[in-house]
């Protein structure tokens, strides 16, 4: 256990030192993380103001609350592994990882966490600033806030494992960006990114319940904003847990197959 902690601490130091070298690109990345939800927020506020004050159950200030929480949840759960993996394989960096006596996913998890720890304070400041402008509704129910934390952790894990598994596609194809594109479109519509899922027609909502995307982003947001009943919250946590198990099984399987393919061809 101590060895694991030490590994994560060292990886944190490495990531932190590297990030300090790239302050400018970090800020640019951050701006895009804020800008996209901000655009949706402005569009939806305008629409709801134009259609008698609300769309579905969301007023303009509800939309503000939704998208500001989305910024934070997305900041905590997003990964960049799918952009990186192909490069890693083609350039042979994966070989170095395979020569090491630890599974490479550990360095990716700790790299992700360390990057988040450094950028999250900045994101919170940005969100606080935006809150002053957009004046979101803020009604917090204690049990919902408490359940939000495990839901957020599960969302992070599910999203991380799903995207890490998807990144393994680079073992078999050079057209990873096409796969990523499909994934991002599904994510956009089925996770609650472009709009709260309750505004979609029923079939899409059913699809979102079955697929993993909602459990990686939309669910914790709705939970924190008190839009779910205790039963819905419980069902959501169960769905997250189920996807966690499924993604862990999948990751093992795909990783093994990927390494087998890699060691047949090399880089």
């Amino acid at each position: 256990m101590r060895a694991w902690i030490e590994l994560y601490v060292q990886q944190f130091r490495t990531t932190f030192a590297t990030m300090l070298q790239y302050r400018a690109s970090l800020v640019i990345w951050m701006i895009s993380q804020v800008l996209e939800p901000l655009v949706y927020l402005i569009v939806w506020s305008t629409v709801s103001n134009g259609s008698g004050g609300s769309v579905g159950s969301y007023t303009a200030r509800d939309f503000a609350a939704y998208y500001l929480v989305l910024m934070i949840v997305n900041q905590i759960t997003y990964t960049w592994i799918m952009y990186e993996y192909e490069y890693r394989i083609r350039q042979g960096y994966l070989s170095f990882a395979l020569l090491k006596p630890v599974h490479p996913i550990h360095s990716d998890i700790s790299d992700n966490l360390s990057s988040k720890l450094t950028t999250l304070p900045l994101m919170l400041i940005v969100v606080a600033g935006l809150a002053l402008i957009f004046r979101p509704t803020a009604v917090f129910i204690p049990w919902a806030v408490l359940t939000f934390l495990p839901a957020l952790v599960l969302a992070f894990l599910v999203r991380f494992f799903v995207e890490w598994t998807l990144a393994q596609a680079a073992f078999w194809t050079t057209r990873v960006s096409a796969i990523n594109q499909v994934y991002f479109v599904l994510m956009l519509f089925l996770s609650g990114q472009i709009a709260p899922l309750s505004l979609f027609p029923a079939p899409i909502q059913i699809a979102a319940d079955i697929l993993p995307f909602r459990w990686m982003l939309g669910f914790p947001i709705e939970l924190l904003l008190g839009r779910l009943s205790p039963l819905q919250a419980l069902a959501g946590l169960a769905a997250q847990a189920a996807w966690l198990v499924a993604s862990l099984v999948l990751i093992r399987f795909v990783w093994r197959a990927g390494v087998r393919a890699y060691s047949a061809v090399g880089s």
Binding site: L7, Q11, T14, T18, S95, L99, P101, S263, G266
Partner: protein
């Protein structure tokens, strides 16, 4: 079966036990399947429907052993299968045939106990994190290999001393020169004191002084740690300085395995005679092939079997000031090995 200490020696008992080889290859093969197509749009479209594949045999039945502590040069022209072999031995590639064992492990299983005991240095690739000082990457390796702090410090001090890393460790890796970076790469690869070291072109692109430094270091590391070293290099000076034994492969097949001096004997039919004459205008074509002559200094190439006879005649016939019989340079020998091997 463990020997029974109470039993006397029988007639067939082997008294000196054979040491277990550190590295063992038996008929090791690696075949790649690659898709191929001709240039042009038409060919590209055709390949969408029907993909033609071709099997390429990179390693074709290699058999050899390395004893613990040996330093062996692994030679061959580009594409001979050297890197493929090293990758199979370090567990990055799965063999398609035959058997290989390193420290009694099957490398492709990549067991932790195995990975902790080996290292692979690739001269053309870097494992150090580009933007931060090497010292930080070293710390990360310490955590990855779970090295006790005291051991780690001792090893790092030793490596710092041997490779003269002191002033380099605190600079971001991207600010180091190629040679400095290579020294840090090698140090990073050896922090866990591996017993088996694979070096793939560790001196590539380095200047002569830096090559010599790295070479001396490898020899010293081998002396101190007793590690088994398998090394590929295009610089014969590396091989001459480090390896008594060389293994030469070509097109995936073993061409030669033995002492470097035997390689020279086996593959050279000629010797060179360098002589200094008083008479600068002498015509020596009757004695052998004249390779060069300037200011009375002649270099002759003669068939090995005739060396003694020609030398005798030269001394008898001409006003010789100085005479030297040499083997051709090792580069020339290696070149001959490869050209002879081509069918």
């Amino acid at each position: 079966m463990p020997p029974d200490p109470n039993r006397g020696l029988g007639a067939f008992d082997i008294i000196t036990p054979m040491p277990t080889p550190a590295i063992h290859l038996q008929d090791l093969c690696k075949t790649y399947v690659v898709s191929e197509r001709e240039a042009g749009v038409g060919a590209a479209l055709r390949s969408l429907v029907h993909r033609r594949t071709q099997e390429i045999t990179a390693v074709d039945g290699l058999t050899f052993d390395l004893a613990p502590g040996e330093v062996v040069g692994f030679l061959g022209p580009n594409g001979a299968g050297k890197t493929t072999t090293l990758k199979m031995l370090s567990g990055l590639l799965h063999p398609t045939g035959g058997d290989c064992r390193v420290l009694d492990h099957l490398p492709w299983k990549r067991e932790r106990a195995f990975l902790r005991q080996i290292t692979l240095v690739m001269g053309q690739r870097n494992q150090l994190v580009w933007d931060i000082p090497a010292a930080d990457s070293f710390d990360l390796n310490r955590a990855i290999y779970r090295l006790p702090l005291a051991d780690y410090r001792r090893t790092l001090d030793e490596l710092t001393d041997l490779l003269d890393l002191g002033p380099l460790l605190k600079k971001p890796v991207r600010n180091l020169s190629l040679g400095e970076r290579m020294k840090c790469e090698i140090a990073a690869a050896l922090l866990h004191r591996p017993q088996v070291v694979f070096l793939d072109e560790p001196t590539i692109g380095l200047d002569v002084t830096m090559q010599r430094r790295i070479r001396e270091f490898i020899a010293e590391y081998n002396r101190r740690s007793g590690a088994t070293v398998l090394l590929t290099s295009h610089y014969m000076a590396d091989v001459e300085a480090l390896c008594r034994r060389v293994i030469v492969i070509h097109r995936g097949k073993l061409l030669f395995d033995g002492d470097l001096s035997d390689l020279v004997q086996q593959f050279t039919a000629h010797k060179t005679i360098v002589l200094q004459l008083e008479d600068c205008q002498a015509n020596l074509h009757a004695y052998g092939e004249v390779i060069s002559c300037e200011d009375g200094r002649f270099t002759l190439r003669v068939p090995k079997a005739e060396t003694a006879h020609v030398t005798e005649r030269l001394l008898a016939d001409l006003p010789v000031i100085d005479l030297l019989v040499e083997d051709p340079p090792i580069e020339e020998v290696i070149e001959r090995v490869f050209t002879q091997a081509v069918p």
